[in-house]
Amino acid sequence: MGFGPHLLLAVLEGLVTSAVLALTALGLSLVFGVMRVVNVAHGELFMLGAVLAWAVATAVGGSPALGFVAALVIAPLIVGAVAALAEQLVLRRVDYDPEATIVATIGLLYILQQLALTFYGADARPVPPPFNIRLALPWFGYSAYKLSIIATSTVLLLLSWLVLTHTRAGLIMRATQYDRETAQAFGIPVGRVYAAVFAIGAMLAAVAAVLIVPISQAHYLMGQDPLLLSFAVVIIGGLGSLRGTVVAALLIGISDGVISMFFSPTLAKLIATLAVAMVLVFRPQGLFGKAAR
């Protein structure tokens, strides 16, 4: 296989990573943008989605397609409920103080990780993909399921954009993000908006996790990489900018794919991590964001 096909393969793999990453990071960005808090447990909610996907698919049994669809519906709903509960019981009571929220979500991270280890175990388990078709390209065969991840993610991102910009719910969210007090003064139930946003953010991560499970297995420690990469995407893309999030996810996903293919994955992560830290230090509003108001 020559350099060209190798590069194509790397870019395709990178696009799959980007597709999953964009969804996960959009969840983090939404929570960060509207509520001004950092959810450190976001990666564990992702992990919870993956583990639940395995549980649901196993419980349903039957054809892989049926199990997968059931997982795609049920797992995010449960994760959303868990997130809403955490928001009600903890975040609301510390009044969304940024530092207290960070410490509390670190606590949530440990709790979720330990519960997954206790009840699911330390093994990595796959969920069978809903269909098993290999597209024969001239140089190599490529899984059609991976391409369907890219398509699904694109549809979901477009849908999120439509909801945010063209519906009443989106308007309420944006109003709360723009100015919490004024929104409250205009009769918007800010508390309920926060709970909903936190749940939706977690559900986006869970959907991304269910999509990735057929190709990369569910494991109780799988939450750390998505968390750090989502941070990276949100920072590089700029806060609350959906377009920035998508562009940054593409940038990070594809460069991760290419560097991992030609160099070592550890080096890829090392470079990405340092690059993100530097962006945050020298351009805190993100590469695509506007300067802070």
Binding site: P98, V103, T118, L228, T266, L270, A277, L280
Partner: protein, 318 residues
């Protein structure tokens, strides 16, 4: 008795108690306590940034690991003796803290937390990437003959439990009194002033960036001292000490003991370490305890053990 003498006496009494424990503790707890003293030193270093400086860092594992690897690699590859290796660890921690501080202190709040987290993560990945030198995931084991100090008076063997305990205690005591001196000095008060109101401190003519940088470098050096001591005393240099978990643990210990109290880190570390030790006797799910305690602390007990004590009864506690 004036206030100052009372404070020094209190801290000296704590150290004296710890010396007495050397002769009283059974072997298992003696070993555990030696470890706790080193980790409490790590927590005191963290407390300077987090408690007094008001900067929530999620990257202090890199300073601990810089000391650990600075000392460990110095012995393994350069054939340094124990004192030189310890100093090499300190130098690595101080240099890293200076570099990290110059960059990370351009940000504050949530951004500072993420930048320190990212730096620490990069440091961890670098240790894994250069596995030819660092031993990667496996880490390095320092042999007992590499952990001896030859002096004119005889050999100091760091593998001996009593020597180990007293060395750990010596480091702890030096750092404890240094912390007491720092927080009662003008520099310590400026730090607290910046934490409480940065704008006002700047208006009064203080260079807030320089003060914070000095605090971070001091804090990083103390953490590196703890890391170097840990490697030399317990003979293991491993990459997991650079992981995120070791940035979160000092935060937990300090929060539990009481942020911005001199003795809080010790009590927090002892309490948490024993809690996990006891809990792991009953269940392997000790991380659940860590998580639940973090949340409970944030919800109901924001000032920690000594912080609450100070607020209610002992206003004079530093």
């Amino acid at each position: 008795m004036n206030g100052s003498a009372r404070l020094w006496l209190l801290h000296a009494a704590v150290v004296a108690l710890l010396v007495a424990l050397n002769f009283l503790l059974p072997a298992y707890h003696h070993g555990l306590m030696a470890r706790i003293l080193v980790l409490a030193t790590f927590a005191m270093g963290y407390n300077l940034t987090f408690g007094y400086g008001g900067l929530l860092s999620l990257g202090h594992a890199m300073f601990f690991a810089a000391g650990l690897y600075g000392a460990g690699l110095g012995i393994q590859h350069l054939g340094l003796g124990v004192p030189a290796a310890f100093l090499a660890g300190l130098a690595c921690g101080a240099a890293l803290a200076l570099l990290a501080g110059l960059l990370a202190l351009r940000t504050t709040g949530v951004a500072f937390m993420i930048v320190t987290l990212m730096f620490s993560q990069a440091f961890h990945l670098a240790i894994l990437y250069f596995s030819a030198f660092t031993g990667g995931d496996q880490g390095l084991v320092l042999r007992p003959q590499q952990r001896r100090i030859e002096t004119a008076l005889g050999t100091l063997d760091l593998t001996d439990p009593t020597t180990r305990y007293l060395t750990a205690l010596a480091l702890f005591a030096v750092v404890l009194f240094a912390m007491l001196a720092i927080v009662r000095s003008g520099f310590g008060r400026v730090l607290v002033a910046i934490r409480e109101n940065e704008e006002r401190a700047r208006m009064l003519g203080y260079d807030t960036f320089a003060s914070r940088l000095a605090a971070l470098v001091t804090s990083g050096t103390i953490c590196a001292a703890a890391g170097a001591a840990y490697g030399l005393l317990f003979g293991y240099v491993g990459a997991n000490f650079a992981s995120v978990q070791y940035s979160i643990l000092p935060l937990l210990w300090v929060l539990l003991g009481g942020a911005a109290t001199t003795l809080g880190p010790l009590f927090g570390t002892v309490f948490m370490y024993y809690l996990i030790d006891i809990a792991s006797g009953y269940t392997s799910a000790y991380m659940l305890a860590v998580g639940v305690i973090l949340i409970l602390l944030v919800l109901f007990f924001r000032k920690g053990l000594l912080g609450t004590l100070r607020e209610r009864w002992l206003r004079w506690l530093p």
